[in-house]
Protein backbone atom coordinates (compact mmCIF):
# COMPACT_ATOMS: atom_id res chain seq x y z
CA UNK A 1 0.00 0.00 0.00
CA UNK A 2 2.76 2.37 1.00
CA UNK A 3 4.63 1.32 -2.09
CA UNK A 4 1.66 2.23 -4.26
CA UNK A 5 1.33 5.58 -2.54
CA UNK A 6 5.01 6.25 -2.95
CA UNK A 7 4.80 5.34 -6.60
CA UNK A 8 1.80 7.60 -7.00
CA UNK A 9 3.62 10.41 -5.25
CA UNK A 10 6.67 10.05 -7.43
CA UNK A 11 4.58 10.01 -10.58
CA UNK A 12 2.72 13.09 -9.47
CA UNK A 13 5.95 14.92 -8.82
CA UNK A 14 7.23 13.89 -12.22
CA UNK A 15 4.01 14.95 -13.89
CA UNK A 16 4.17 18.34 -12.21
CA UNK A 17 7.82 18.68 -13.20
CA UNK A 18 6.94 17.83 -16.77
CA UNK A 19 4.06 20.25 -16.79
CA UNK A 20 6.38 22.95 -15.48
CA UNK A 21 8.97 22.17 -18.12
CA UNK A 22 6.31 22.18 -20.80
CA UNK A 23 4.98 25.51 -19.63
CA UNK A 24 8.47 27.01 -19.53
CA UNK A 25 9.10 25.85 -23.09
CA UNK A 26 5.81 27.35 -24.21
CA UNK A 27 6.64 30.68 -22.58
CA UNK A 28 10.08 30.64 -24.18
CA UNK A 29 8.51 29.87 -27.55
CA UNK A 30 6.25 32.90 -27.27
CA UNK A 31 9.17 34.96 -26.01
CA UNK A 32 11.11 34.33 -29.22
CA UNK A 33 8.08 34.93 -31.42
CA UNK A 34 7.46 38.30 -29.79
CA UNK A 35 10.93 39.50 -28.70
CA UNK A 36 13.30 37.59 -31.01
CA UNK A 37 13.85 40.48 -33.39
CA UNK A 38 14.73 42.76 -30.50
CA UNK A 39 17.54 40.39 -29.47
CA UNK A 40 18.70 40.10 -33.08
CA UNK A 41 17.62 36.46 -33.10
CA UNK A 42 14.35 36.61 -35.00
CA UNK A 43 12.07 33.70 -35.71
CA UNK A 44 12.60 33.08 -39.40
CA UNK A 45 9.49 33.80 -41.46
CA UNK A 46 10.44 31.38 -44.28
CA UNK A 47 10.57 28.46 -41.87
CA UNK A 48 7.18 29.49 -40.45
CA UNK A 49 5.79 29.42 -43.97
CA UNK A 50 7.41 26.07 -44.68
CA UNK A 51 5.75 24.69 -41.55
CA UNK A 52 2.43 26.26 -42.49
CA UNK A 53 2.57 24.54 -45.85
CA UNK A 54 3.32 21.19 -44.25
CA UNK A 55 0.79 21.50 -41.45
CA UNK A 56 -1.95 23.30 -43.27
CA UNK A 57 -2.05 23.27 -47.02
CA UNK A 58 -1.07 19.64 -47.36
CA UNK A 59 -3.79 18.64 -44.86
CA UNK A 60 -6.65 20.32 -46.70
CA UNK A 61 -7.81 17.28 -48.71
CA UNK A 62 -7.92 14.92 -45.75
CA UNK A 63 -9.59 17.51 -43.51
CA UNK A 64 -12.19 18.05 -46.19
CA UNK A 65 -12.91 14.36 -46.67
CA UNK A 66 -13.22 13.58 -42.95
CA UNK A 67 -15.25 16.66 -42.12
CA UNK A 68 -17.56 16.02 -45.04
CA UNK A 69 -18.05 12.45 -43.84
CA UNK A 70 -18.79 13.64 -40.31
CA UNK A 71 -21.35 16.07 -41.69
CA UNK A 72 -23.05 13.27 -43.61
CA UNK A 73 -23.07 10.99 -40.56
CA UNK A 74 -24.54 13.70 -38.35
CA UNK A 75 -27.24 14.21 -40.94
CA UNK A 76 -28.02 10.48 -41.09
CA UNK A 77 -28.22 10.14 -37.32
CA UNK A 78 -30.04 13.41 -36.87
CA UNK A 79 -32.71 12.66 -39.43
CA UNK A 80 -33.13 9.16 -38.04
CA UNK A 81 -33.56 10.45 -34.49
CA UNK A 82 -35.73 13.42 -35.33
CA UNK A 83 -38.04 11.33 -37.52
CA UNK A 84 -39.63 9.91 -34.37
CA UNK A 85 -40.79 13.43 -33.51
CA UNK A 86 -41.60 14.33 -37.10
CA UNK A 87 -39.08 17.12 -36.88
CA UNK A 88 -36.61 16.07 -39.57
CA UNK A 89 -36.16 19.61 -40.84
CA UNK A 90 -34.69 20.59 -37.48
CA UNK A 91 -31.65 18.51 -38.38
CA UNK A 92 -30.03 21.62 -39.82
CA UNK A 93 -29.84 23.21 -36.38
CA UNK A 94 -28.28 20.13 -34.83
CA UNK A 95 -25.66 19.79 -37.53
CA UNK A 96 -24.82 23.47 -37.44
CA UNK A 97 -24.13 23.48 -33.70
CA UNK A 98 -22.36 20.18 -33.39
CA UNK A 99 -20.10 20.77 -36.35
CA UNK A 100 -18.98 24.29 -35.45
CA UNK A 101 -18.73 23.78 -31.71
CA UNK A 102 -17.54 20.22 -31.51
CA UNK A 103 -16.65 18.14 -34.50
CA UNK A 104 -14.85 20.74 -36.59
CA UNK A 105 -12.21 21.55 -34.00
CA UNK A 106 -12.04 18.02 -32.65
CA UNK A 107 -11.56 16.23 -35.96
CA UNK A 108 -9.04 18.83 -37.10
CA UNK A 109 -7.14 18.63 -33.84
CA UNK A 110 -6.96 14.83 -33.90
CA UNK A 111 -5.97 14.80 -37.54
CA UNK A 112 -3.20 17.36 -37.13
CA UNK A 113 -1.97 15.60 -33.99
CA UNK A 114 -1.62 12.40 -35.97
CA UNK A 115 -0.19 14.08 -39.02
CA UNK A 116 1.97 16.96 -37.86
CA UNK A 117 2.40 16.41 -34.13
CA UNK A 118 3.98 13.05 -34.79
CA UNK A 119 6.13 14.51 -37.59
CA UNK A 120 7.34 17.20 -35.21
CA UNK A 121 8.22 14.66 -32.53
CA UNK A 122 10.01 12.48 -35.09
CA UNK A 123 11.93 15.40 -36.55
CA UNK A 124 13.09 16.78 -33.21
CA UNK A 125 13.77 13.28 -31.89
CA UNK A 126 15.95 12.44 -34.87
CA UNK A 127 17.80 15.72 -34.48
CA UNK A 128 18.34 14.95 -30.81
CA UNK A 129 19.74 11.52 -31.61
CA UNK A 130 22.08 12.90 -34.29
CA UNK A 131 23.35 15.64 -31.93
CA UNK A 132 21.88 18.24 -34.27
CA UNK A 133 20.21 19.95 -31.30
CA UNK A 134 23.56 20.13 -29.50
CA UNK A 135 25.11 21.45 -32.71
CA UNK A 136 22.52 24.21 -32.87
CA UNK A 137 23.18 25.14 -29.27
CA UNK A 138 26.94 25.33 -29.66
CA UNK A 139 26.51 27.43 -32.78
CA UNK A 140 24.61 29.87 -30.60
CA UNK A 141 21.32 29.04 -32.29
CA UNK A 142 18.66 28.57 -29.66
CA UNK A 143 16.72 25.39 -30.52
CA UNK A 144 13.51 26.79 -29.02
CA UNK A 145 13.71 29.80 -31.29
CA UNK A 146 14.92 27.88 -34.31
CA UNK A 147 12.71 24.80 -34.12
CA UNK A 148 9.83 25.30 -31.71
CA UNK A 149 8.79 28.89 -32.28
CA UNK A 150 8.18 28.48 -36.03
CA UNK A 151 6.21 25.28 -35.47
CA UNK A 152 4.19 26.92 -32.70
CA UNK A 153 3.40 29.99 -34.78
CA UNK A 154 2.53 27.92 -37.83
CA UNK A 155 0.30 25.62 -35.79
CA UNK A 156 -1.46 28.54 -34.08
CA UNK A 157 -2.31 29.96 -37.48
CA UNK A 158 -3.10 26.79 -39.38
CA UNK A 159 -5.15 24.73 -36.90
CA UNK A 160 -7.83 27.43 -36.46
CA UNK A 161 -7.79 28.05 -40.22
CA UNK A 162 -8.26 24.36 -40.91
CA UNK A 163 -10.95 24.22 -38.24
CA UNK A 164 -12.89 26.93 -40.00
CA UNK A 165 -12.45 25.05 -43.24
CA UNK A 166 -13.56 21.86 -41.52
CA UNK A 167 -16.71 23.64 -40.26
CA UNK A 168 -17.63 24.53 -43.79
CA UNK A 169 -16.85 21.07 -45.13
CA UNK A 170 -18.94 19.48 -42.35
CA UNK A 171 -21.91 21.74 -43.00
CA UNK A 172 -21.55 21.00 -46.69
CA UNK A 173 -21.65 17.27 -45.97
CA UNK A 174 -24.79 17.76 -43.92
CA UNK A 175 -26.33 19.83 -46.68
CA UNK A 176 -25.61 17.25 -49.34
CA UNK A 177 -27.21 14.39 -47.39
CA UNK A 178 -30.16 16.46 -46.20
CA UNK A 179 -30.69 17.56 -49.78
CA UNK A 180 -30.88 13.97 -50.97
CA UNK A 181 -32.92 12.64 -48.05
CA UNK A 182 -35.28 15.53 -47.32
CA UNK A 183 -35.18 17.32 -50.65
CA UNK A 184 -33.93 20.42 -48.82
CA UNK A 185 -32.43 22.85 -51.29
CA UNK A 186 -28.84 23.92 -50.76
CA UNK A 187 -29.84 27.58 -50.49
CA UNK A 188 -32.48 26.84 -47.87
CA UNK A 189 -30.01 24.75 -45.89
CA UNK A 190 -27.36 27.44 -46.04
CA UNK A 191 -29.77 30.19 -45.08
CA UNK A 192 -31.12 28.24 -42.14
CA UNK A 193 -27.60 27.41 -40.94
CA UNK A 194 -26.51 31.02 -41.13
CA UNK A 195 -29.67 32.05 -39.31
CA UNK A 196 -29.12 29.76 -36.33
CA UNK A 197 -25.37 30.10 -36.10
CA UNK A 198 -23.94 32.95 -34.12
CA UNK A 199 -20.41 34.25 -34.15
CA UNK A 200 -20.04 32.79 -30.68
CA UNK A 201 -20.59 29.25 -31.93
CA UNK A 202 -17.81 29.51 -34.44
CA UNK A 203 -15.56 31.33 -31.97
CA UNK A 204 -16.08 28.55 -29.44
CA UNK A 205 -14.66 26.10 -31.96
CA UNK A 206 -11.80 28.38 -32.91
CA UNK A 207 -10.79 29.04 -29.30
CA UNK A 208 -10.69 25.30 -28.75
CA UNK A 209 -8.58 24.84 -31.85
CA UNK A 210 -6.00 27.33 -30.57
CA UNK A 211 -5.70 25.27 -27.40
CA UNK A 212 -5.44 22.07 -29.45
CA UNK A 213 -2.69 23.62 -31.58
CA UNK A 214 -0.69 24.43 -28.47
CA UNK A 215 -1.19 20.92 -27.12
CA UNK A 216 -0.05 19.32 -30.38
CA UNK A 217 3.15 21.38 -30.59
CA UNK A 218 4.13 21.07 -26.97
CA UNK A 219 3.48 17.33 -26.70
CA UNK A 220 5.40 16.73 -29.93
CA UNK A 221 8.30 18.90 -28.88
CA UNK A 222 8.63 17.56 -25.35
CA UNK A 223 8.57 13.97 -26.56
CA UNK A 224 11.03 14.78 -29.32
CA UNK A 225 13.51 16.43 -26.96
CA UNK A 226 13.17 13.53 -24.58
CA UNK A 227 14.27 10.89 -27.09
CA UNK A 228 16.98 8.54 -25.93
CA UNK A 229 18.40 5.53 -27.68
CA UNK A 230 18.53 5.84 -31.43
CA UNK A 231 15.92 5.19 -34.07
CA UNK A 232 13.89 2.98 -31.78
CA UNK A 233 13.61 5.82 -29.31
CA UNK A 234 12.38 8.10 -32.06
CA UNK A 235 9.67 5.61 -32.96
CA UNK A 236 8.55 5.32 -29.35
CA UNK A 237 8.48 9.09 -28.92
CA UNK A 238 6.43 9.50 -32.09
CA UNK A 239 3.80 7.01 -31.01
CA UNK A 240 3.71 8.43 -27.51
CA UNK A 241 3.27 11.95 -28.78
CA UNK A 242 0.30 11.00 -30.95
CA UNK A 243 -1.45 9.06 -28.21
CA UNK A 244 -0.82 11.75 -25.60
CA UNK A 245 -1.76 14.63 -27.88
CA UNK A 246 -5.06 13.01 -28.87
CA UNK A 247 -5.85 12.14 -25.24
CA UNK A 248 -5.10 15.67 -24.07
CA UNK A 249 -7.13 17.13 -26.92
CA UNK A 250 -10.20 15.06 -26.09
CA UNK A 251 -9.94 15.81 -22.37
CA UNK A 252 -9.34 19.51 -22.98
CA UNK A 253 -12.31 19.48 -25.33
CA UNK A 254 -14.54 18.03 -22.66
CA UNK A 255 -13.43 20.57 -20.07
CA UNK A 256 -13.89 23.42 -22.51
CA UNK A 257 -17.29 22.25 -23.62
CA UNK A 258 -18.40 22.05 -20.01
CA UNK A 259 -17.29 25.55 -19.12
CA UNK A 260 -18.25 27.23 -22.37
CA UNK A 261 -21.79 25.90 -22.18
CA UNK A 262 -22.62 26.88 -18.63
Amino acid sequence: MIFVLEQLGRRTVRAIEEAGYLFALLVEGFFWIICGTFYKQPVRIPSVFAQMMQIGIAAIPIVFVLSFAIGVMLAIQGIHTLKAFGAESQVVVGIAFSVTREFGPLITGILIAGRSGSALAARIGTMQVNQEIDALRVMGINPVRYLIAPALLAMLIMVPTLTFFSDIAGLFGGAVFSGIELGLSFDAYANQSIEVLEVDDIMQGLIKSVVFATIIVMVGVVNGFDVKGGAEGVGRATTRSVVLAISYIVIADMIFTYFLNR
Partner: protein, 266 residues
Protein backbone atom coordinates in the same frame (compact mmCIF):
# COMPACT_ATOMS: atom_id res chain seq x y z
CA UNK B 1 54.13 26.26 -29.68
CA UNK B 2 52.62 26.14 -26.23
CA UNK B 3 53.81 28.92 -24.05
CA UNK B 4 52.69 29.12 -20.50
CA UNK B 5 53.26 32.83 -20.00
CA UNK B 6 50.10 33.77 -21.90
CA UNK B 7 46.77 33.44 -20.18
CA UNK B 8 45.07 30.23 -21.25
CA UNK B 9 42.33 30.24 -23.88
CA UNK B 10 40.56 27.52 -21.95
CA UNK B 11 40.92 26.80 -18.29
CA UNK B 12 39.10 24.31 -16.09
CA UNK B 13 39.26 24.59 -12.33
CA UNK B 14 38.12 21.86 -9.94
CA UNK B 15 35.30 20.72 -12.18
CA UNK B 16 32.92 18.30 -10.49
CA UNK B 17 29.88 16.97 -12.30
CA UNK B 18 27.11 14.52 -11.56
CA UNK B 19 24.85 12.39 -13.68
CA UNK B 20 21.87 11.70 -11.47
CA UNK B 21 23.44 10.76 -8.16
CA UNK B 22 26.70 9.50 -9.65
CA UNK B 23 29.72 11.74 -9.63
CA UNK B 24 31.34 11.57 -13.07
CA UNK B 25 34.18 14.09 -12.93
CA UNK B 26 35.98 14.35 -9.59
CA UNK B 27 37.65 17.75 -9.72
CA UNK B 28 39.25 18.21 -13.12
CA UNK B 29 41.88 20.91 -13.68
CA UNK B 30 43.34 21.75 -17.04
CA UNK B 31 44.51 24.67 -19.15
CA UNK B 32 44.82 25.03 -22.90
CA UNK B 33 47.02 27.79 -24.28
CA UNK B 34 46.68 29.84 -27.40
CA UNK B 35 47.61 28.10 -30.60
CA UNK B 36 48.13 24.64 -29.16
CA UNK B 37 46.44 21.37 -29.90
CA UNK B 38 45.37 19.70 -26.68
CA UNK B 39 44.25 16.12 -26.83
CA UNK B 40 41.93 14.83 -24.14
CA UNK B 41 42.52 11.11 -24.14
CA UNK B 42 40.87 8.31 -22.26
CA UNK B 43 39.10 5.02 -22.66
CA UNK B 44 35.35 4.66 -22.72
CA UNK B 45 33.84 5.60 -19.41
CA UNK B 46 36.78 7.84 -18.60
CA UNK B 47 34.53 10.88 -18.57
CA UNK B 48 36.08 12.53 -21.60
CA UNK B 49 32.78 12.94 -23.43
CA UNK B 50 31.23 14.33 -20.28
CA UNK B 51 34.11 16.78 -19.92
CA UNK B 52 33.57 17.93 -23.50
CA UNK B 53 29.86 18.53 -22.91
CA UNK B 54 30.67 20.85 -20.04
CA UNK B 55 33.45 22.60 -21.95
CA UNK B 56 30.85 23.34 -24.63
CA UNK B 57 28.49 24.78 -22.05
CA UNK B 58 25.89 22.05 -22.60
CA UNK B 59 25.55 21.26 -18.92
CA UNK B 60 25.73 22.97 -15.56
CA UNK B 61 28.44 21.48 -13.35
CA UNK B 62 27.97 20.68 -9.68
CA UNK B 63 30.95 22.84 -8.80
CA UNK B 64 34.05 24.31 -10.35
CA UNK B 65 34.68 26.84 -13.08
CA UNK B 66 35.36 26.77 -16.80
CA UNK B 67 37.01 29.83 -18.31
CA UNK B 68 36.85 30.26 -22.06
CA UNK B 69 38.62 33.29 -23.53
CA UNK B 70 38.68 34.72 -20.03
CA UNK B 71 34.98 34.28 -19.31
CA UNK B 72 33.59 31.85 -16.76
CA UNK B 73 30.97 29.97 -18.76
CA UNK B 74 29.48 28.41 -15.65
CA UNK B 75 28.29 31.86 -14.58
CA UNK B 76 27.49 33.53 -17.86
CA UNK B 77 24.16 35.06 -18.86
CA UNK B 78 22.42 33.58 -21.89
CA UNK B 79 23.26 36.62 -23.98
CA UNK B 80 26.95 36.62 -23.03
CA UNK B 81 27.17 32.91 -23.73
CA UNK B 82 25.49 33.53 -27.07
CA UNK B 83 28.23 36.02 -28.00
CA UNK B 84 31.01 33.79 -26.72
CA UNK B 85 29.80 30.88 -28.83
CA UNK B 86 30.61 32.83 -31.98
CA UNK B 87 34.27 32.33 -31.06
CA UNK B 88 33.88 28.59 -30.55
CA UNK B 89 33.60 25.93 -33.22
CA UNK B 90 32.62 22.32 -32.64
CA UNK B 91 32.92 19.30 -34.91
CA UNK B 92 30.73 16.58 -33.46
CA UNK B 93 31.48 12.91 -33.76
CA UNK B 94 28.74 12.22 -36.29
CA UNK B 95 29.02 15.63 -37.92
CA UNK B 96 25.56 16.68 -36.75
CA UNK B 97 24.78 18.45 -40.00
CA UNK B 98 21.14 19.49 -40.22
CA UNK B 99 19.70 16.83 -42.47
CA UNK B 100 17.02 19.09 -43.94
CA UNK B 101 19.54 21.44 -45.52
CA UNK B 102 22.17 21.16 -48.21
CA UNK B 103 25.83 21.08 -47.27
CA UNK B 104 26.23 24.68 -48.40
CA UNK B 105 23.25 25.86 -46.35
CA UNK B 106 24.62 24.02 -43.34
CA UNK B 107 27.95 25.80 -43.63
CA UNK B 108 26.26 29.15 -44.14
CA UNK B 109 23.88 28.67 -41.21
CA UNK B 110 26.04 30.34 -38.51
CA UNK B 111 26.69 33.30 -40.83
CA UNK B 112 23.02 33.57 -41.66
CA UNK B 113 22.04 33.50 -38.00
CA UNK B 114 24.77 35.71 -36.57
CA UNK B 115 25.86 38.22 -39.19
CA UNK B 116 24.15 40.70 -41.44
CA UNK B 117 26.58 39.98 -44.25
CA UNK B 118 25.56 40.16 -47.88
CA UNK B 119 24.23 36.88 -49.29
CA UNK B 120 26.99 36.81 -51.88
CA UNK B 121 29.67 37.26 -49.20
CA UNK B 122 28.20 34.44 -47.10
CA UNK B 123 28.13 32.17 -50.10
CA UNK B 124 31.77 32.87 -50.97
CA UNK B 125 32.82 32.38 -47.34
CA UNK B 126 31.04 29.04 -47.15
CA UNK B 127 32.59 27.90 -50.42
CA UNK B 128 36.05 28.94 -49.24
CA UNK B 129 35.65 26.86 -46.10
CA UNK B 130 34.45 23.91 -48.13
CA UNK B 131 37.60 24.30 -50.24
CA UNK B 132 39.68 24.29 -47.06
CA UNK B 133 38.25 20.91 -46.11
CA UNK B 134 38.53 19.65 -49.71
CA UNK B 135 34.80 19.59 -50.34
CA UNK B 136 34.72 22.19 -53.09
CA UNK B 137 31.78 21.60 -55.39
CA UNK B 138 29.75 19.58 -52.90
CA UNK B 139 27.67 22.42 -51.55
CA UNK B 140 24.45 21.45 -53.27
CA UNK B 141 24.38 17.89 -51.97
CA UNK B 142 22.32 16.83 -48.99
CA UNK B 143 24.19 15.42 -45.97
CA UNK B 144 22.62 12.00 -46.61
CA UNK B 145 24.46 11.87 -49.94
CA UNK B 146 27.89 12.20 -48.32
CA UNK B 147 30.20 9.55 -46.89
CA UNK B 148 31.12 9.53 -43.21
CA UNK B 149 34.45 11.23 -43.77
CA UNK B 150 32.90 13.88 -45.98
CA UNK B 151 30.21 14.61 -43.41
CA UNK B 152 32.87 15.14 -40.76
CA UNK B 153 34.80 17.47 -43.02
CA UNK B 154 31.65 19.40 -43.90
CA UNK B 155 31.00 19.72 -40.18
CA UNK B 156 34.49 21.18 -39.78
CA UNK B 157 33.73 23.67 -42.56
CA UNK B 158 30.60 24.72 -40.70
CA UNK B 159 32.48 24.96 -37.42
CA UNK B 160 35.20 27.25 -38.84
CA UNK B 161 33.00 29.45 -40.99
CA UNK B 162 32.95 32.19 -38.36
CA UNK B 163 36.75 31.96 -37.92
CA UNK B 164 36.54 30.86 -34.29
CA UNK B 165 39.50 31.21 -31.95
CA UNK B 166 38.79 27.94 -30.22
CA UNK B 167 37.83 24.72 -31.90
CA UNK B 168 36.64 21.41 -30.43
CA UNK B 169 36.74 18.03 -32.11
CA UNK B 170 34.83 15.06 -30.73
CA UNK B 171 36.40 11.77 -31.81
CA UNK B 172 37.50 13.07 -35.23
CA UNK B 173 38.84 9.74 -36.45
CA UNK B 174 36.18 7.46 -35.00
CA UNK B 175 34.48 5.31 -37.62
CA UNK B 176 36.83 6.37 -40.42
CA UNK B 177 39.30 4.27 -42.34
CA UNK B 178 42.96 5.14 -41.67
CA UNK B 179 43.47 7.15 -44.86
CA UNK B 180 40.46 9.37 -44.27
CA UNK B 181 41.34 9.67 -40.60
CA UNK B 182 44.84 10.83 -41.56
CA UNK B 183 43.32 13.48 -43.82
CA UNK B 184 41.34 14.79 -40.91
CA UNK B 185 44.44 14.86 -38.71
CA UNK B 186 46.23 16.85 -41.37
CA UNK B 187 43.30 19.24 -41.54
CA UNK B 188 43.45 19.82 -37.79
CA UNK B 189 47.15 20.68 -38.02
CA UNK B 190 46.46 23.02 -40.91
CA UNK B 191 43.81 24.89 -38.91
CA UNK B 192 46.26 25.46 -36.10
CA UNK B 193 49.07 26.62 -38.36
CA UNK B 194 47.16 28.72 -40.85
CA UNK B 195 44.42 30.13 -38.66
CA UNK B 196 46.27 30.13 -35.33
CA UNK B 197 43.37 28.30 -33.76
CA UNK B 198 43.48 26.77 -30.34
CA UNK B 199 42.21 23.24 -30.69
CA UNK B 200 40.86 20.71 -28.21
CA UNK B 201 40.45 17.16 -29.47
CA UNK B 202 38.67 14.45 -27.51
CA UNK B 203 39.71 11.03 -28.72
CA UNK B 204 40.59 7.49 -27.81
CA UNK B 205 42.66 6.97 -30.98
CA UNK B 206 46.27 6.88 -29.87
CA UNK B 207 47.87 7.09 -33.29
CA UNK B 208 46.19 10.28 -34.38
CA UNK B 209 46.52 11.71 -30.89
CA UNK B 210 50.29 11.32 -30.91
CA UNK B 211 50.53 12.67 -34.43
CA UNK B 212 48.79 15.96 -33.85
CA UNK B 213 49.12 16.67 -30.13
CA UNK B 214 51.08 19.52 -28.68
CA UNK B 215 50.04 18.28 -25.28
CA UNK B 216 47.90 15.43 -24.03
CA UNK B 217 45.62 15.22 -21.03
CA UNK B 218 44.94 11.69 -19.93
CA UNK B 219 41.60 11.18 -18.27
CA UNK B 220 40.65 8.08 -16.35
CA UNK B 221 37.53 7.40 -14.29
CA UNK B 222 36.79 11.09 -13.99
CA UNK B 223 40.27 12.08 -12.84
CA UNK B 224 43.14 13.57 -14.77
CA UNK B 225 46.09 11.22 -14.57
CA UNK B 226 48.55 13.55 -16.24
CA UNK B 227 48.99 16.39 -18.69
CA UNK B 228 52.10 16.59 -20.82
CA UNK B 229 53.75 16.39 -24.19
CA UNK B 230 53.70 13.22 -26.26
CA UNK B 231 57.15 12.28 -24.97
CA UNK B 232 56.17 12.90 -21.38
CA UNK B 233 53.11 10.68 -21.74
CA UNK B 234 55.23 7.93 -23.28
CA UNK B 235 57.75 8.21 -20.48
CA UNK B 236 55.12 8.08 -17.77
CA UNK B 237 55.50 5.33 -15.20
CA UNK B 238 51.83 5.41 -14.31
CA UNK B 239 50.35 1.96 -14.73
CA UNK B 240 46.97 3.10 -15.98
CA UNK B 241 48.59 5.29 -18.60
CA UNK B 242 50.84 2.50 -19.73
CA UNK B 243 47.95 0.08 -19.99
CA UNK B 244 46.05 2.67 -21.99
CA UNK B 245 49.03 3.11 -24.32
CA UNK B 246 49.45 -0.60 -24.77
CA UNK B 247 45.74 -1.23 -25.03
CA UNK B 248 45.89 -3.81 -22.29
CA UNK B 249 43.12 -3.96 -19.80
CA UNK B 250 44.81 -3.11 -16.55
CA UNK B 251 44.93 -5.90 -14.02
CA UNK B 252 43.33 -4.36 -11.06
CA UNK B 253 44.42 -6.06 -7.88
CA UNK B 254 41.34 -7.54 -6.30
CA UNK B 255 41.02 -10.35 -3.85
CA UNK B 256 39.44 -13.69 -4.69
CA UNK B 257 36.55 -12.89 -2.37
CA UNK B 258 35.97 -9.61 -4.04
CA UNK B 259 36.07 -11.26 -7.44
CA UNK B 260 33.49 -13.90 -6.48
CA UNK B 261 31.39 -11.21 -4.87
CA UNK B 262 31.43 -9.23 -8.11
CA UNK B 263 30.33 -12.23 -10.16
CA UNK B 264 27.52 -13.26 -7.87
CA UNK B 265 26.24 -9.85 -6.77
CA UNK B 266 22.59 -9.29 -7.59
Amino acid sequence: MASTDRSPVLEVRDLVTHYGDTEILHGVNMAVHEGEIMIIMGGSGSGKSTLLRYLLGLGIPTSGNIYILGKDITHLSAMEMHDLRKNMGVAFQGGALLSSMTVGENVQLPLYEHTGLDKKTMQIMARMKLEVVNLGGFENLMPAQLSGGMIKRAAVARAIVMDPKLMFFDEPSAGLDPVVAAELDELILRLRDAMQMTIVVVTHELQSAFKIADRITVLDKGNILMTGTVDEVHASKNERIQSLLNRRPSNEEISADEYMERLTRI
